[in-house]
Symmetry: D2
Subunit: 354 residues, 4 copies
Amino acid sequence: MGTLSNTKVKVGIVGGTGYTGVELLRLLAQHPHVELVAITSRKEDGVPVADMYPNLRGHVDLKFQTPEQANLEQCDVVFFATPHGVAMSQVERLLAADVKVIDLAADFRLQDINAFEKWYKMEHSCPDVLRTVAYGLPELHREKIAQAKVVANPGCYPTTVVLGLAPLVQAANTLVDTQHLIADCKSGVSGAGKGASVPNLFAEASDNFKAYGVSGHRHQPEIVEQLQNLHGAPVGLTFVPHLVPMIRGMFSTIYARILPEALEVDFQQVFEQHYAGETFVDVLPAGSLPETRSVRASNKLRIAIQRPGNGDQLIILVVQDNLVKGASGQAVQNMNLLFGLPENAGLQHVAILP
Amino acid sequence: MGTLSNTKVKVGIVGGTGYTGVELLRLLAQHPHVELVAITSRKEDGVPVADMYPNLRGHVDLKFQTPEQANLEQCDVVFFATPHGVAMSQVERLLAADVKVIDLAADFRLQDINAFEKWYKMEHSCPDVLRTVAYGLPELHREKIAQAKVVANPGCYPTTVVLGLAPLVQAANTLVDTQHLIADCKSGVSGAGKGASVPNLFAEASDNFKAYGVSGHRHQPEIVEQLQNLHGAPVGLTFVPHLVPMIRGMFSTIYARILPEALEVDFQQVFEQHYAGETFVDVLPAGSLPETRSVRASNKLRIAIQRPGNGDQLIILVVQDNLVKGASGQAVQNMNLLFGLPENAGLQHVAILP
Amino acid sequence: MGTLSNTKVKVGIVGGTGYTGVELLRLLAQHPHVELVAITSRKEDGVPVADMYPNLRGHVDLKFQTPEQANLEQCDVVFFATPHGVAMSQVERLLAADVKVIDLAADFRLQDINAFEKWYKMEHSCPDVLRTVAYGLPELHREKIAQAKVVANPGCYPTTVVLGLAPLVQAANTLVDTQHLIADCKSGVSGAGKGASVPNLFAEASDNFKAYGVSGHRHQPEIVEQLQNLHGAPVGLTFVPHLVPMIRGMFSTIYARILPEALEVDFQQVFEQHYAGETFVDVLPAGSLPETRSVRASNKLRIAIQRPGNGDQLIILVVQDNLVKGASGQAVQNMNLLFGLPENAGLQHVAILP
Amino acid sequence: MGTLSNTKVKVGIVGGTGYTGVELLRLLAQHPHVELVAITSRKEDGVPVADMYPNLRGHVDLKFQTPEQANLEQCDVVFFATPHGVAMSQVERLLAADVKVIDLAADFRLQDINAFEKWYKMEHSCPDVLRTVAYGLPELHREKIAQAKVVANPGCYPTTVVLGLAPLVQAANTLVDTQHLIADCKSGVSGAGKGASVPNLFAEASDNFKAYGVSGHRHQPEIVEQLQNLHGAPVGLTFVPHLVPMIRGMFSTIYARILPEALEVDFQQVFEQHYAGETFVDVLPAGSLPETRSVRASNKLRIAIQRPGNGDQLIILVVQDNLVKGASGQAVQNMNLLFGLPENAGLQHVAILP
């Protein structure tokens, strides 16, 4: 990169027709240091992006192109907003052309290849690349991301649960029972993506609440792997995702039993110190109750700590916009780190309320 | 039919997997004079209905069957809750077995075969049957329906617009300018059916409002044909449907210019007289403003008449539940007429509010 | 009561302007053994009920009356759908007139008067009556209710959590760690009542998800008291309620740690046996995931049991309609028991889906 | 104002606790040429703005102040986001201190004082100021606004209907029947403001659609006055507002009868020419159907022209975000004009979709 006043990061997006794709476009179209050069969709080849996403009319002039036409090797960085398995099939070619890669799918999230292959039901095609990848949670891995060539953008649920538990499971910590953690998580429907499916129809999902994936969800092993890395020891987690009739937003209610030796700890302070100075992680004042709308369309994640009756049950409440801090905003935050830009560049939007 | 105290109407349903199908099941499961004998779905063959529709657990024990297994000829009446074109392919076989037919699709709604073939893009396979059909709007065609063997259940929009304009376009009437009627209609998303489609996803349709079909919608010729039959002369109608982010409910705002010679007419009285004694059409007191929730899950249609500033613009506001009076409830009302049952049998549910 | 074929239960409702009031009216208007004789509201004195609740037009002809006019002593039973504190101020007068009382508020839910006075911030005015009250959870206290003169209709959250845990905490049971139960509960907005308040505005509550009352909620001591009565020993419960952007529906996700000596127990069977034969409690097949809409506007409560990875964490998922089984439907079920009517009389509505 | 590189516009807000207030704060907090100096609320005196509006945490550090403390005379401009009647009581004092005023309420929208007093039921306290006011619709009155000291920010409905009809009613135009215009308008619930009221509760307004104000609404005379100013002759308008269960968004379906002499006119071209070069008014390509979400949280207003069957009925479809182009965004646009800033400064947000 030259000096920032002269040069912009050239960005390509593979598979920009889904919700993380349009959200990337919204954020990048307003980013002061980015030049959008290509967006690919084999199916929508030739269609102006703004025809599919009318909110982008007047902001994005690109048309969807085939990957062949798009010449992604000219980019400084390519985002994959694709189904699982696409990024790993193209990453080596891009790395060879000195293009950095940020994958919003799961191809590089799990270092445990067996777990990956079990949960995603596909063989991993580039384990060598996988070993070099940075897990893109900037608040925990800022330096590694800045040095990386490939960033695995975390899953939406893992972002809330890992950031919500990180201060408690740090290496030396003996604060809570790490064998019986519970994450009761709730997501807006956009988390299910833009694919046509009956359960996500308005007439099915509206005025309704349900759990899903209770017997097993792909984000559970991702959370556990990250927590174990932090903790340096095995971690046990019960993870129950639920679907909320709202478009955007994620709310995680996390339960951890305080160990007898930690009953005197000031957990509010533990969290405030851990996230002091972070732009995008906001530890709310003691006694607060977060709402998802307080972060709607912004890259903030807010955390509140509760301990009813000052007992041995700690409750951590975490909110984010699943499409921003839980996906595309975090991807842009990772891009900023990759290119030495201010970490908050293009990400200072105020949340939309009401 | 024997005496009602001893005998129940044997009912079959073809294609019961969509929203009009499950709504028929909800109504018929509680109907005092009905025995549900078969429901068909080739795709769901063998699946208990209650597995697909958990609200029916404990109320309906049927399984979906193939049409072959279902032996629909044993029924007294068969409802078609199918895509357009299915009923007309099976109606002759059923009539031959002395089974009556109520079609919730459009196969028999338009007497004008050219219009049918233009709008539904298929050839009509049984024009002879078509000529014998009763259009199933009981408040206008009660006697014809009672005599019919095949009933064409009206479209959801036509039910509101035809009932909303009928008192004004009756044969002798010279009340309003019938060449420039406007129906600005709004429907809940369940009207689009249960097919998986991107525009009807929660994340697309929620927190959004849009028009559709402005350049042409299949219900426009149906409304016009019915109004012309009532009026005995050509009628002009602009019809603009919109999609509302709610599951059920239809609201039609109808504009009619009062003719100079009718400026002294008491239109509130015109409507009250026209619908006096009707169980399911409720003309609200002068000055009322209806809400869709006042009829949610009930077979009522409510009408209010407004005339701002006592000028020459008449506004008729009509609400119904698109799945009940706009579809399955009206179909049951037609069934009651076909079999000499009390017209309100099984249809006396109070609307759900809130 | 005379014989049922001749006589109807004469019912009065005090304070029928809120959501539990209108829901009582919806259910009682269709109840085969009920005669609605009076409904009181000092504020709405003289207003037809159907003017306030247009869904009742054509179904309920009553007007609101002052309590003085209403002559509630003529009733067989009076429902209190009032703020906390009203029922206890009137109950003695009604009992003296041989009128039974069902209170939908909290006046008689807690036998522990200290807890009542702490949580509801009012003195209890009739502790003598309180000691005779039946807690109106028919599946647990059917016989006591049938003998009672006053029934305390349970809170909405307690109905789900107590029924969801009852099979696990029965006297002799050593199945789960009863000191660390967790109930992560989610309610539709109608649970907050019809009072005008900013947080419950559409523009505040829609497209949003939040927790509330985490540091303490009135239903927590109610649940604990009931569980302790069943268990015969102290019980520890963390209770976190959340607000879901839907009108009706309640979903409770309950976490219980299985004791080492119970790891071989078939918990699906425990629940199925416990609720065998119940009309309104439906234990779903193993592997099921309930949805709130499967009980919308019906008196059913559905329970599913999950045990991820066959580990030591049991998850009980419970759904109900907070206004029906969680309030007015359960109140009618209690009335049926009080008067020897079939327990399901007037309560057999199929849930509305979609 | 000095040169912009050195100086920022000092902004005060009176009454910032409502939805237009928080939206002003969202926009102004991100505006490159603005310094927020004061926000008043007598009721919330001393409360940090971010405590009431958690989306502003980290973006706005102001506390609410009493008007006395706020010293609004130090500002360059003061926005009134207050109930009707407040701005006119304070405007003269501010003008005397050389402070410009933008009123988001109705105090200065109607030049016809009789109409104002009839519809708003209060006396107008400063008719002299009223005569100098610019009506803040920049696309029609850009130059007058730039010269004004007081700007009357238009109502939300008038913005859509006046901009939707302006190209048709321009002075010389004889394109449509201007005596029988119809505006069938639909608004999200935030348009009703943040006051606690039963009809706007989630449990009342969700899953429901209704009309309101059909017999008379305050925005009707405002629209008519503006159209008559453009047309130079009387205009007749039927205006029917409806409430949509969505937070933000306004959709106006406008019907105009084409005059016989104008049947050959290309109306698409009329609109495209009229709004050529406008940043915030987007005439969609022929055949388009706009959606409210395409402008959610942005200052764009989009217009589509439809003419079914190429007949004599013209339909103009207009969408905006009622809180942005319909209120606070337009107010900022007016501020930019008042201070010679680029008209789009601080207003280039991309709409949030999904």
